[in-house]
């Protein structure tokens, strides 16, 4: 029992420590681009997350564990998916929801059935749609609207070396911490070293999105521009690295992880074309979370059935 709990606590620190390390870079870039508003949004999110975590732990008579990094990670993720100049109560509501409705009632960040950050963001996206997708902060950008908004309206842009660099370094309108693509590729390399299996779902997700972008382009330009714009719009890459690889919601088996990623990718791309939100990736992740245990159950049943069949064959061959 003690060794199990030791392993669980070590695993929690290992997983969320990695996330925290990865989240430092997009946070720093958001502060670099947006300055004080980004810092304020990050600060409010972290503070609210900790406050809710502490108060609810006291209310339900659980020892508050300051080194539990799941709340910190969720709070930073929520802040990074918001516009920098968002009213402060919105990230506060999102973090409160993530902790009070998703994290604490289900027994902590390692047991939550839905990704807390995605849930918090989805909650405020429904409540305060206009504010959550209103990207006006920052300097004068080349394009007046975000890439996700451009794609939603069917507008396109020609990909040149100059604007490709802007897209790669996140110098475009959008959520404050999900624009810099280079950082997410670096995070993927980091995950490849630390938690290789988690990247299977990310790979499935990204490949599905690319295939969708090729088959059903929303731009009038080339296939390359369709793929680049779909991948770099909104929080898609951010979600593929941070939300889709969440430890508690990821299926157990490799093939299930792949199926989970593909499923999430299909939902995300369908929602991008049909839903009322310009960036529905969080809703897609939540929907995929709901199906994640079913994937595990299905695979376990199939494996048990195959094992039984192989045992029967062995018995018959021995006889």
């Amino acid at each position: 029992m003690a060794s199990e709990s030791r392993n669980a606590s070590k695993k929690s620190l290992y997983v969320f420590g990695d996330y925290l390390l990865m989240l430092i870079f997009p946070s720093a870039i958001s502060v670099w681009y947006y300055g004080l508003p980004a810092l304020r949004t990050l600060g409010i999110s972290i503070l609210t997350g900790f406050l809710f975590d502490f108060i609810l732990s006291v209310i339900i008579y659980k020892k508050y564990f300051a080194a539990d990094l799941s709340t910190l990670c969720s709070s930073i993720m929520i802040a990074l998916m918001m516009p920098a100049d968002i009213p402060v109560y919105i990230p506060a509501f999102a973090c409160g929801f993530a902790v009070a409705v998703i994290k604490i009632p289900f027994g902590g960040g390692m047991k939550a059935p839905f990704v807390p950050a995605a849930s918090g963001f989805a909650f405020v996206a429904v409540c305060f749609k206009d504010a959550v997708f209103n990207y006006t902060a920052g300097r004068d950008y080349m394009y007046s609207s975000s890439l996700a908004s451009m794609l939603a309206q069917g507008r396109s842009m020609k990909i040149t070396l100059a604007n490709l660099m802007d897209i790669l370094i996140g110098n475009i309108r959008g959520p404050m911490g999900t624009g810099c693509i280079i950082v997410f590729f670096a995070c993927m390399i980091f995950l490849l070293i630390r938690r290789r299996e988690a990247l299977i779902s990310t790979a499935g997700f990204l490949v599905t999105c690319i295939v969708f972008a090729i088959i059903f382009p929303r731009t009038e330009g080339s296939i390359l521009s369709s793929v680049v714009l779909e991948l770099s719009a909104g929080s898609l890459l951010f979600a593929s690295v941070f939300l889709l690889t969440d430890y508690s919601t990821l299926p157990e088996y490799k093939r299930d992880k792949l199926a989970y990623g593909v499923f999430c990718g299909i939902i995300c791309m369908v929602m991008r074309r049909l839903a009322a939100f310009e960036e529905p990736v969080c809703f897609a992740v939540l929907l995929a979370n709901a199906f994640s245990p079913l994937l595990d159950i299905f695979t376990k049943r199939v494996l048990t059935f195959m094992h039984k069949n192989s045992r029967k064959k062995e018995v018959f061959s021995n006889e």
């Binding site: 029992m1 003690a2 060794s3 199990e4 709990s5 030791r6 392993n7 669980a8 606590s9 070590k10 695993k11 620190l13 290992y14 420590g17 006291v58 209310i59 339900i60 008579y61 659980k62 020892k63 508050y64 564990f65 300051a66 080194a67 539990d68 109560y89 509501f93 409705v101 009632p105 027994g107 902590g108 909650f123 429904v126 409540c127």
Partner: protein, 265 residues
């Protein structure tokens, strides 16, 4: 439930300790669909109560000798037979306005699980008087939850109460949606469960002796409810040292042959 107990005790037991909506999850469909405002929830609770009480009386008086598999169907027909006259009366003989949303939800009340469950588990096994008292207690318990849910959802989701606007600048639209009701019900169940706990159960311990290593490990995992509320401020090094001390202690307990389990990482 003890039939000889007083009405107050039976009420406490049925409406508070074993609330049919919060703890048995019965009749959730009309509750979720029809409690976005106080007016709607009052209407739903009134119709649900009439349906439940009349069904329970009829079930205990007439349906005892009918086979079980037929009784279930009879409850549903009975529900429709009770609700439609009530609805007709409200529409034609009173000034109450029935909204379109409520019109859709009313048939759900006729087939709700709360009535069928209460009739099947209690009414058909007891006398009519007992069944009446029990159904009244159940109806009050369910109605209380429905009305509180309606009040909370209207205040948080629409910033008003019974249609009168309150001075609330920020409202959460999601609370008017069905999933908002599930969240409210979840928190209400948690609060009710917490109120039912004996107050001395979590009184802080006066024992200041150091924790047993297994207890430390349990606290780190946060699986068990601890005896007292303390702050554990720890960082990586502290946790590592605690865990290693736990390991050493367990090894000393189990001896050289004892296995403490390997680290998967």
């Amino acid at each position: 439930m003890n039939e000889n107990a007083s009405f107050g005790k039976r009420m406490l037991n049925t409406a508070f300790k074993n609330n049919p909506v919060l703890f048995q999850c019965a009749g959730l469909c009309p509750v979720i669909a029809g409690t976005s405002t106080l007016k709607d929830s009052l209407f739903i609770s009134a119709v649900l109560s009439i349906d439940l009480i009349l069904s329970a009386i009829i079930a205990s008086a007439l349906l005892k000798k009918i086979p079980r598999y037929i009784r279930i169907a009879v409850y549903l027909v009975l529900g429709l037979a009770i609700i439609y006259p009530v609805l007709w009366f409200i529409e034609n003989k009173t000034l109450v306005e029935i909204t379109l949303g409520i019109r859709i939800i009313i048939p759900l009340i006729a087939v709700n699980s709360l009535t069928a469950m209460h009739c099947e588990t209690y009414s058909v096994k007891h006398k009519t008087g007992d069944s009446l008292v029990s159904s009244v207690c159940t109806a009050i318990g369910a109605s209380a939850v429905i009305i509180i849910c309606g009040i909370l959802r209207e205040i948080i989701g629409k910033g008003s109460i019974a249609g009168y606007p309150l001075e609330i600048k920020t409202t959460l639209v999601t609370m008017s949606m069905p999933f908002g009701c599930l969240i409210v019900l979840g928190f209400m169940a948690a609060v009710l469960k917490a109120l039912q706990r004996s107050p001395g159960r979590y009184e802080s311990s006066s024992d200041d002796s150091p924790l047993h290593p297994e207890e430390i490990a349990l606290d780190i995992e946060q699986e068990e409810a601890p005896e007292s509320v303390d702050l554990v401020i720890a960082d990586y090094e502290e946790i590592d040292s605690i865990l290693s001390s736990t390991d050493v202690f367990l090894k000393s307990l189990t001896g050289p042959s004892g296995e403490s389990g390997g680290d998967d990482e």
